[in-house]
């Protein structure tokens, strides 16, 4: 038990990365607000970045720039940081794309809540079933609540 605790204290960045990761996953899976889901994704990915960068760090190491005056210097491993640059780029593009989808959904439904959107869609599907067809645009668009904005949805 003591050894385990010692290991945990020595490797504290990994511990925090795991906690952050779990927070992120829980946010994505349990929150119905689309923005919160997106924040969860970002927290989760940051956790993975921390994990990688902590793995590349060496205590007492210096920047990985060759210094001939100090031959005994220990350099940190730059590769994980370089990899995480790629990871950050991916994360940014995911965020941008998700935001554009949220805008489109908000213009269409007038809300950014996954549960409400699902409700509206289901009631629309029911109405469609009664009419004998379901391949059609959402009836919420004609109920006037956000009708002025909804008509622009085709141009997104």
């Amino acid at each position: 038990m003591r050894i385990l605790l010692e290991k945990l204290i020595v490797n504290y960045p990994y511990f925090f990365a795991v906690i952050l990761f779990v927070i992120g996953v829980l946010t994505v899976l349990t929150r119905s607000n689309l923005f919160k889901k997106l924040l969860g994704i970002n927290i989760m990915e940051s956790a993975v970045f921390i994990l990688f960068i902590a793995a590349g760090n060496i205590r007492g190491g210096t920047d990985p720039i060759l210094d001939t005056s100090k031959p005994e210097a220990v350099y940190i491993n730059p590769l994980p940081s370089a990899l995480m640059l790629t990871g950050i780029v991916v994360s940014v593009s995911v965020t941008a794309f998700a935001l554009s989808l949220i805008i489109r959904l908000y213009r269409e439904y007038g809300t950014a809540d996954a549960r409400q959107i699902a409700q509206m869609r289901n009631s629309a599907l029911k109405a469609a079933d009664q009419a004998g067809r379901d391949n059609y645009r959402h009836p919420d668009r004609s109920n006037g609540k956000r009708g002025d904005k909804n008509d622009r949805s085709n141009q997104i």
Partner: protein, 534 residues
């Protein structure tokens, strides 16, 4: 002059593995420039498809010819621990052939047929950009031998998949794309964590070196290896829709435009499966899979997926949704084969992967043709379509027979090898499940065939329905349908290119089922290669 040409062909031949990946990606980036000249853009897409298929055939020929050993291509000439390697082995060549062989007919089908589903020339050009990005990423997944490179290609594929889903002008599509994006990003974060653990304990990103190091040190780092394996497994299982993690798939695949559904169901999830296979067999190795009981987990998950996916497909009345649930079930066969850990099972899984890619794209494309002609998505409303659209429905029927596993169609050979593999593994439950899956598959596909061929078409059902309900929205919708270009009375097969695409895919199903020769040979050799204990 002649000397120069030979030098050039030599250079192209030498760099072919890179060209196969780079060409679609490059054209994808150039394509938006030609958005206003959509015919030119479409021509370029098909040109790249033909080039890619030629390249894949050539690489497969080289691999088959070489008999043993893989062609390792070093990016930029850097040797292995520093540079990124592409390997052209049996596995890569067979999957590359599947990717190129399916994406060409799909792009042929998309040409000229897409504008009404996507809306506008600009959006059509963007669709092709995403399509080519996906094809390039899948080709890269087949070839790469570097685990971080795999992650990057997986992300490229994920983003373009989500883009393809959301390219349809329908709120449903945006919603499905958002769910897909969230879960797929969750999956890739898990995979990235797994990669991080592998790199932390081995210090290598190259699959060969990482595998060597893992097999030397795994006893001392047992928990880390176990953790990395589980993370990679769950991550790729989310992305390739293994049963309990499939929740995003039915919405995403059924609300995408039809060519996109075809390539998403046919190829995209297969790409992630190939990545999982590479991680499990080329990085961890068969010894570690057995040690951590991952083989039994794969077989169990596969069996559950076959039954659950097929059962869920039966009550669906929406044609594309039924096909999407069927994909969940069929993915189970491939996972089951991955877990059997013997030559026949693995070869069967690889062949089944190829056969399902061809069959499911045919099904989605013919379903798309029917839906865009009739403007109806429900199976019960497709009565009498078969007689009006014989080519489309014939392709659908052939593909259904292939999916069920009737002899002479490609699904049969894959299932045959899976069954012999599971008997060899000594467990009879998978055999029973494979056969039960075929029966369930017939249960959900034969009604479509029966309704479309043997029931007579109803007479003007929509007008009456709209008049009964006073709902304004519905009336407007019905009006839109009646204004549409195709009336029910003028139902006919789609254009010549679409017919060509369907015929090509149907021929591929029958050819794979009667003379599986080269592809099966590649799959068998790949299986033997992957199972070598290190």
């Amino acid at each position: 002059m002649g000397n120069g040409v030979t030098k050039m062909t030599e250079a192209i031949k030498f760099n072919l593995p890179v060209f196969v990946v780079i060409a679609p990606l490059f054209i994808a980036i150039v394509l938006p420039v030609f958005a206003r000249r959509i015919r030119l853009a479409e021509g370029m897409v098909i040109f790249v498809g033909v080039l890619g298929l030629a390249g894949a055939l050539f690489l497969a020929h080289i691999v088959l010819d070489r008999n043993s050993g893989t062609w390792i291509y070093q990016m930029g000439g850097w040797p292995a621990p520093w540079g990124i390697e592409l390997t052209v082995g049996n596995l890569a060549a067979s999957f590359l052939l599947v990717v190129m062989g399916v994406s060409l007919p799909v792009s042929l089908f998309a040409v000229g047929n897409l504008t009404h589903e996507v809306g506008g020339k600009q959006r059509t050009a963007r669709f092709y950009t995403l399509f080519l990005l996906l094809v390039g990423a899948l080709a890269g997944m087949a070839l790469t031998n570097d685990i971080f490179n795999t992650y990057v290609l997986v992300e490229v594929a994920t983003l373009s998949c989500c883009g393809l889903v959301s390219s349809r002008r329908h709120p449903r599509a945006a919603e499905a794309a958002f769910t897909y994006l969230m879960l797929a990003t969750l999956g890739s974060a898990l995979v990235l964590c797994g990669i991080g653990f592998i790199y932390t304990i081995t210090g290598h990103l190259n699959m060969g070196f990482a595998s060597q190091a893992l097999n030397e040190i795994w006893q001392t780092k047992r928990h880390v290896v176990w953790m990395a394996m589980s993370l990679v497994f769950v991550g790729f299982a989310v992305k390739s829709a293994l049963f309990p993690l499939h929740v995003w798939l039915p919405d995403a695949h059924s609300s995408a435009p039809s060519p996109a559904s075809a390539i998403l169901s046919g190829l995209a999830i297969k790409g992630y499966m190939i990545c999982l296979l590479k991680f499990f067999y080329s990085v961890f190795g068969p010894g570690l899979i057995k040690e951590f009981a991952m083989d039994r987990l794969l077989v169990l998950a596969g069996m559950i997926a076959i039954i659950a996916g097929s059962v869920m497909a039966i009550p669906q009345d929406d044609l594309k949704r039924r096909l999407a649930f069927s994909t969940v079930g069929q993915a189970g066969y491939i996972f089951l084969g991955f877990g059997l850990m013997n030559k026949d099972g693995l070869a069967g899984a690889l062949f089944y992967l190829a056969s399902h890619a061809v069959i499911k794209s045919t099904l989605f494309l013919s379903a798309g043709a029917m839906i865009s002609a009739t403007k109806k998505r429900k199976i019960s409303e497709l009565a009498g379509v078969g007689r009006r659209m014989p080519v489309t429905m014939a392709a659908f029927t052939a593909a259904s027979l292939g999916l069920i596993g009737i002899p002479l169609f490609s699904g049969f050979i894959g299932k045959w090898y899976l069954i012999t593999g599971s008997i060899e593994a000594g467990s009879f439950l998978p055999t029973v499940v494979i056969i039960a899956g075929s029966v369930l598959c017939a249960t959900y596909l034969f009604p479509v065939i029966r309704v479309a061929w043997f029931e007579s078409a109803p007479k003007e059902p929509q007008k009456a329905a709209a008049q009964e309900t006073g709902d304004a929205a519905v009336q407007r919708e019905t009006a839109e349908v009646q204004e549409g270009p195709v009336q029910h009375g003028q139902l006919k097969d789609p254009g010549i290119l679409q017919k060509l695409a369907l015929v090509l895919l149907t021929v591929a199903i029958i050819v794979l089922g009667t003379v599986p020769g080269p592809l099966l040979e590649l799959a068998k050799r790949a299986a033997a290669e992957l199972l070598v204990l290190r």
